[in-house]
Symmetry: C2
Subunit: 216 residues, 2 copies
């Protein structure tokens, strides 16, 4: 029997709410119907105990009994092992889920995150420095577009791969990066309309809103 | 019994040799002592059959019987399931390997790759556009430094996590990005002195050199 605690920040600036990566874990837990607790660590003053669980000083991490896991990808694969609602049980289904999990994080997010940094720092214009990075994202989206036009979910049934890929693309869409990629937009909308996403998103927003109240 | 074929490009420009990602897979296969064949696809004219195996038109992919897997992270986890030389068998060891696999690809490489693009396009100077991305990598290396100063390998015994993390850091070092991070440099040197790395590297270089000869 899993004994699951998800740790996230106690507070986060308003513009990042709805996009903190604990959302990916909450969403997976809701899809699987697994019971869990939520714990908090200071956003401001990150202590040694925090770095012991998450060496980059980020969130989330998950504890399952006495095992502590960081990296949303690793956490989701761990949860995938606990529920076929998150990952098919057959070897082919598992390996397809696995490759799309890595595609989300190491092919698409690796291209989207630099673009997001450029956008948020006001540097995503058509300059010699920004252009190769903007083109990098475009290349990835241009390849995801036919993939997502041809299927509902990445690896057959809905899986952790879709939680990760749609969450990565959702932030791109939020910053108007999916204007020319309707299949990517539809996929994000499809994923975000799932009741488990809606609940996970509402829970994250409520968690940080409660922190605002306490601070008053 | 695994029936393994690794597919890579038939040729690649000289400056990229020694850093194509099939090296990660060759290295893992050598560590595990698993027999495998190497197949090639055109670097120049990428066909539909290529995209069917690797939707981004990249390499490598691995077939194991009738299962085909892309993304070096997914391939290495698949191989990890075939050999305890690549991933410990106990749940804690497996989950530690898993989190460092994702840390290599989604925390460190996600920061190193944009920096590499900036470097290779001659844009890694101290400009308002480049600085946030350069700082992003620095932040990650500053956190990896104490981690690697304190241990030989990431998850206890050598594992696929070390293949990925050291390969990511090796390219940073190649472009002089580890000058202020001696523990990261030592870790790369330690990993690259393993006989399986040396063989995998030599095999990749020979594979592409043979293509040059054929082209003459």
């Amino acid at each position: 029997m899993a004994d699951l605690t998800l740790t996230t920040f106690d507070w986060i600036p308003e513009m990042r709410r709805g996009f903190v990566r604990d959302l990916r874990v909450r969403w997976a837990l809701e899809e699987a119907g697994l019971p869990y607790r939520v714990a908090s660590v200071p956003f401001g003053d990150r202590k040694a105990a925090h770095f012991a669980h998450q060496p980059f000083g980020q969130v989330p991490w998950l504890t399952d009994g006495d095992i502590s896991i960081f990296e949303s990808g690793a956490i989701l694969l761990h949860l995938g092992g606990l529920s076929t609602a998150l990952m098919p049980a057959d070897p082919r289904g598992r390996s397809e889920t696995m490759e799309w999990v890595f595609a989300a994080l190491n092919s698409v997010e690796m291209a989207s995150l630099p673009w997001i940094i450029l956008k948020l720092t006001g540097n995503a214009g058509d300059t010699p420095t920004a252009k190769p990075l903007i083109d990098f994202l475009k290349l990835r989206l241009n390849r995801m577009e036919p993939v997502l036009a041809g299927r509902e979910w990445l690896a057959g049934p809905f899986s952790v791969a879709d939680i990760l890929m749609s969450d990565v693309l959702r932030l791109v869409g939020r910053l108007d990066g999916l204007t020319n990629h309707p299949a990517c937009r539809d996929y994000v909308a499809r994923a975000a309309s799932r009741p488990s996403f809606v609940k996970a998103h509402a829970d994250q927003m409520a968690h940080f809103a409660a922190a605002d109240c306490k601070a008053r």
